[in-house]
């Protein structure tokens, strides 16, 4: 992974007494203290991060956290007070007006919260705006705009006006306008926040689908952690202009950096984020090629359980044996477990979200077996572990 976008010591202070405010930042004062003593508002304070080529990087925070200021500094809609922004290693903050226009025209495109479509232009003209600005001739730009509209699933609206479209469709146009430009970086400012929940989910899916083929570098602003966890390859959480934590969704969930992040993730619908692999525990099992009924019985007694998973020497999953059946085998002095193995055990892949299997987990008596694509038994899912994970308790990590 190479860094497409690097941000170094980026700071934005709004107000007059900027030098004084910068001193206070260095002295480690908070946003509220600086506002009180210098009368300046800290938008972003000494931000450092990198966005890798082809990843979706979500900047998360509540209103006033500086996330909108951050994304606008990346294309210099807001001039940074100090610090550097590097795209492909080239510093953006030192560019002159003409060079900046070129970067905006060719390197990055922005999608806006309230769509920001031009009401006086048709859908195709809106989509072609970036190309029109660059001086691409009409046939070519309409051709490209049309392709971009097809890509986001809008057919036959080319000559309508934005007001004739629903919110979800308008944002598709917003996205198409950004895609038509074919720039490597997409800046998405709360792009789906103005949409109703169903539309939002559709658009998130759409974005992920598109991303699979397009591999853009996407900086996505959101105040919705569920959204961030859903689409983000990595998430950066901001509070009062300061970066609190940067990490993968799982890192954020399992190792929150501080109380603030912890409070944030309290409300997360964990079922959407957690997968079978997150909640599975280490199973007790016997090797059918090696172990007989007595070993099986001993394992069950040791672990105080009434059924046991069975694998072969290659650790491939075979089935489950039940304590009463194993007892029977011992009484009959059998040496093999084969005759009592039940094979109708529910199985699932490790990356299945637990929302999909939750119903079944609660209705089947035998725990789910988690197996990989080579049929290896990785773990099992018991009801208690699922409930624990959803409520945010520590999950058995070595499972």
């Amino acid at each position: 992974m190479t860094a497409k976008l690097q941000v170094r010591h980026l700071t934005k202070i709004f107000g007059r007494r900027i030098a004084r405010a910068e001193e206070l930042i260095k002295a480690g004062r908070t946003k509220a203290e600086i506002l009180k003593s210098a009368g300046a508002t800290v938008g972003v304070s000494d931000a450092n991060f990198e966005v890798n080529d082809g990843e979706i990087f979500v900047i998360m925070g509540l209103s006033g956290s500086g996330k909108s200021t951050m994304i606008r500094m990346i294309n210099r809609l807001i001039e940074p007070t100090s610090g550097e922004i590097l795209i492909d290693g080239k510093n953006l903050t030192s560019l002159n007006k003409k060079e900046l226009l070129n970067v905006r025209r060719n390197k990055m495109s922005m999608v806006f919260q309230n769509f920001a479509l031009f009401p006086n232009r048709t859908i195709i003209e809106n989509t072609a705006y970036g190309l029109e600005i660059k001086g691409v001739d009409k046939d070519e730009r309409h051709q490209k705009a049309h392709e971009a509209l097809e890509l986001v699933g809008l057919h036959g609206y080319d000559n309508q006006y934005p007001t004739q479209l629903s919110g979800g469709m308008q944002q598709r146009v917003g996205l198409a306008r950004a895609l038509a430009n074919n720039s490597e970086i997409l800046l998405m400012d709360e792009a789906f926040s103005a949409l109703d929940p169903l539309n939002r989910k559709d658009m998130q899916d759409e974005l992920l689908d598109l991303q699979e083929n397009l591999h853009k570098t996407i900086v996505f602003i959101s105040h919705d952690l569920n959204e961030a966890l859903r689409i983000g390859d990595r998430i950066m959480i901001m509070k009062d202009g300061v970066i609190v934590q940067t990490g993968t969704p799982e890192e954020i969930l399992t190792q929150p950096a501080d109380d603030y992040v912890e409070k944030f993730i309290e409300d997360v619908d964990r079922t959407k984020v957690l997968t079978a692999a997150n909640v599975m525990i280490r199973p007790s099992y016997v090797n059918i090629d090696k172990d007989g009924p007595r070993i099986a019985m001993r394992r069950m007694v040791e672990n105080e359980i009434s059924s046991l998973y069975v694998v072969n020497s290659k650790r491939e999953f075979v089935g489950v044996v039940d304590a009463s059946h194993v007892m029977g085998l011992i009484k009959k002095k059998e040496r093999q477990l084969n005759s009592v193995i039940q094979t109708n055990v529910p199985t699932t892949a490790p990356d299945t979200p637990i929302t999909e299997i939750m119903d079944k987990i609660s209705s089947t008596p035998i725990p789910y077996a988690v197996i990989d694509d080579q049929n290896h038994l990785l773990g099992i899912i018991i009801r208690g572990a699922v409930l624990g994970a959803i409520s945010g308790n520590e999950v058995n990590e070595d499972a």
Binding site: N75, R104, R105, A116, F118, Y129, I133, T163, L187
Partner: protein, 283 residues
């Protein structure tokens, strides 16, 4: 304030006017230029037969309102224009129309760029606002005096006085229209790398258009209100008829000509409003 001598404001302004009047060449140039526009309009109106003029006005109104079909307005136009013809005011009406169109055109050409500048520059807006207030509240008669000094008598000083009096709405509404463009659309235009000119012509002006046109409409109405005043310095037209009627205490003649002005005003107002009507469907 017995000890403070009266400020010689009037003599200062006289001196200023005298000094400005010394730029005779410049004012002659302006007079010739505006005179040219006036003659051009008048030439066209004199050339048009009355029936053709009426067909153009009625047909134009029908075409501009083709979706809504304002039959009442069309009937009013036919009756109104026939009345003007019948009263023998036709040439006066076209002269008044020339005065109004010329001053509106000049107000548009000067006012829109000034309005754009105001819309883009906070400093210029702050400076210009009191100037506009001055232009609008100073009694319009006062403009006539220096206008005569600079431009002689006739249509040209009338047009100049009308422009000064009528231009502020165009400037103000252009400024307002530019400022009303939503911030996220400006951001969108900027984020795709628009130059200032591209932003102006592709985003700001198109979106300010209806507000701007409302200003032009207002300017037109204001310049129409100047026609009687302008007739005092020799501008021809319906205003002249009213002015004469005042001098002869001729109530009937005054109202007959005044009614013609009202008819012209209503027709001009409705046509400019129809031009302004948005073609973009509402959601």
């Amino acid at each position: 304030m017995p000890n403070i001598p009266q400020l010689p404001v009037s003599s200062w302004i006289d001196k200023l006017v005298d000094w400005l009047a010394s730029f005779e060449g410049f004012f002659n140039g302006v007079t010739n230029f505006i005179g040219g526009i006036i003659n051009g309009f008048q030439w066209v109106f004199d050339l048009l037969p009355i029936w053709l003029f009426m067909i153009l006005v009625v047909g134009g109104t029908y075409w501009l309102n083709r979706k809504t079909k304002h039959w009442g307005l069309i009937a009013f136009e036919i009756v109104g224009l026939l009345y003007i013809w019948n009263q023998g005011f036709w040439r006066d009406m076209t002269q008044t129309l020339t005065l109004v169109l010329t001053s509106s055109l000049i107000a548009l050409v000067i006012g829109v760029p000034l309005g754009i500048w105001m819309g883009k520059s906070k400093v210029f807006e702050t400076i210009n606002k009191p100037v506009l207030d001055f232009m609008q509240t100073m009694p319009a008669f006062v403009y006539l005096i220096p206008a005569v000094a600079f431009f002689g008598i006739g249509m040209v000083p009338g047009v100049i006085a009308s422009v000064i009096f009528a231009m502020p709405p165009t400037i103000r509404m252009t400024d307002l229209g530019i400022r009303q463009v939503p911030a996220d659309l400006i951001e969108a235009a900027d984020s795709y790398g628009s130059t200032s000119w591209q932003k102006l012509f592709k985003v700001q002006l198109p979106l300010a258009k209806s507000t701007l046109m409302a200003g032009v409409n207002q300017s037109m109405m204001l310049s129409l209100s100047m026609v009687v005043i302008a007739s005092m310095i020799g501008a021809m037209g319906l205003g002249n008829k009213v002015y004469f009627a005042v001098g002869r205490n001729d109530a009937g003649g005054g109202f007959a000509a005044g009614l013609a002005i009202v008819i012209l005003a209503i027709i001009l107002d409705r046509i400019t409003q129809a031009i302004n009507r948005s073609k973009i469907p509402k959601s």
